[in-house]
Amino acid sequence: MAMSRRKRAQVIRGVQYAVLVLAILLVVLLADWQTIGSQFFNLEAARTQIPEVITTALVNTAVYTALGFAVGFGLGLVFALMKLSSVGPYRWIATAYIEFFRGIPALLVFIALGFGVPLAFNLKFDVYSTAAIALGLVGSAYIAETLRAGIQAVPKGQIEAARSLGMSAARTNVTVVIPQAFRIILPPLTNELILLTKDSSLIYLLGLFRDDFELAKFGREGLNATNSMTPILLAGLCYLLITVPLGHLSRYLEGRTGRKSERGLKVTA
């Protein structure tokens, strides 16, 4: 059956729209709108959450995440450098560490750190330390790989140019490699920060006081208290308040660095 290119494009687009309309219809017809209204958009339930959902929960989520990211970045940098080391055992240790923490669920890390480590070493961590260490361990494995890839993505010619000007290896790293690697890793690093924001919800496993609640725990407590899904929706929206701007930032940086390297390539090609 001979169909012109234009005709075929029209048919394909028509089918796609038809499927979309069908799916929307299905959702609209099957959903119980009354319950959805009372469950998810219950103003009274919402009122009980304000302002603590922002002043306590959102702030705690941001603080746990920031602490975890700080620890994760520090550890990640150490392991990235170890993985790039010319000393074999350093590379092996870094590889094992990264494989381990990248491969196990964050949930297990939180349980181990919340209950196992304090017992084993007779230590007592407060909530902030636990959040910082657990999230840091989880994040560091990914951050280490991101940093390593970023450092290796700096063209070899940049290093050769620096060395041929008489810069030492260390000076070359500080002046030429790290500033350029930083540009390359900013977008993936932002994504890692978004993932950590969501992982911070696991801190509930430690058993928190009300002042220590982060968004997910706060939402669930709200759910129990009000018997409405509204607090969960509210908590979800608060996550988006953090993650969507971060995502935009990431895309913005990606676009900016992407354009730059594209332009650079065109000129060197």
């Binding site: 000076r171 730059k260 332009r263 650079g264």
Partner: protein, 251 residues
């Protein structure tokens, strides 16, 4: 100080089992311009990169400006200060402006203060015709401008010798002339230069000495007019025939 700036003897280099340099002897005297020509894969770039030890030779010695580069105990960073290098791909630092590209090593390596480094940088940018581009980022420059900036960056370190690794091979044809003009001007000022190039016209007119390399050895060397104009070896002749007259090379 000796009159010989670069002295290479018995130089051998292999990448794995691939022998790229099979015993090279050559020298460059003060103020001399030496061009290395030859087919790709002949080892000419590797030879150049062994001179400032970007590649580590397997055997032989390289002495540059009084430093024995091949001595494991040499202060390599100090030795490299006196050797300017210009790359095929320019390799300007992409995160720094043109001016910063010229000042960063002056300040961090030679410990010149900012004013002095910028004065020297501007003098060298003027020399290559790029004074008005001091504030631009490398990516905003054409290939020819980037390469001239890279030459100025090397010159700002006051090197005793300049190495050029196919400096015009990555350029659009109409931009080649600007770079060659700068190089010719440098040669006229008495700069000691070792140049790997495919620009036969440049080699013929500017070089004091031309080396033809093939298969990891120096096949022929002598005055530019002789090696390019009346080559003695068959390999040199057939290479030059292909390079100088590519359209009829198959005949």
């Amino acid at each position: 100080m000796s009159d010989v700036i670069v002295e290479v003897s018995g130089l051998r280099k292999a990448f794995g089992t691939l022998e790229v340099l099979k015993g090279i002897d050559m020298s460059v005297r003060r103020g001399e311009v030496v061009c290395i020509i030859g087919p790709s894969g002949s080892g000419k770039s590797t030879l150049l990169r062994c001179v400032n030890l970007l590649e580590e030779p397997n055997a032989g010695t390289v002495v540059v400006n009084g430093f024995e580069m091949t001595d494991p105990d040499v202060d390599i960073d100090r030795a490299r200060r006196g050797i300017g290098m210009v790359f095929q791909a320019f390799n300007l630092f992409g995160h720094l402006s043109v001016l910063e590209n010229l000042t960063v090593a002056q300040r961090k390596v030679l410990k010149r203060d900012r004013d002095e480094a910028e004065r020297i940088a501007m003098r060298n940018l003027e020399k290559v015709g790029l004074a008005e581009k001091a504030g631009s980022m490398p990516a905003q420059l054409s290939g020819g401008q980037q390469q001239r900036a890279a030459i100025a960056r090397a010159l700002a370190m006051d090197p005793a010798v300049m190495l050029f690794d196919e400096p015009t091979s990555a350029l659009d044809p109409e931009l080649v002339g600007d770079v060659l003009t700068v190089m010719r001007q440098l040669a006229e000022e008495g700069m000691t230069m070792l140049v790997v190039t495919h620009e036969m016209q440049f080699a013929r007119e500017v070089a004091d000495k031309v080396l033809f390399m093939d298969g990891g050895v120096v096949v022929e060397e002598g005055q530019a007019a002789q090696v390019i104009g009346e080559p003695r070896h068959e390999r040199t002749r057939s290479f030059l025939a292909r390079v100088l007259n590519p359209v009829h090379a198959g005949e």
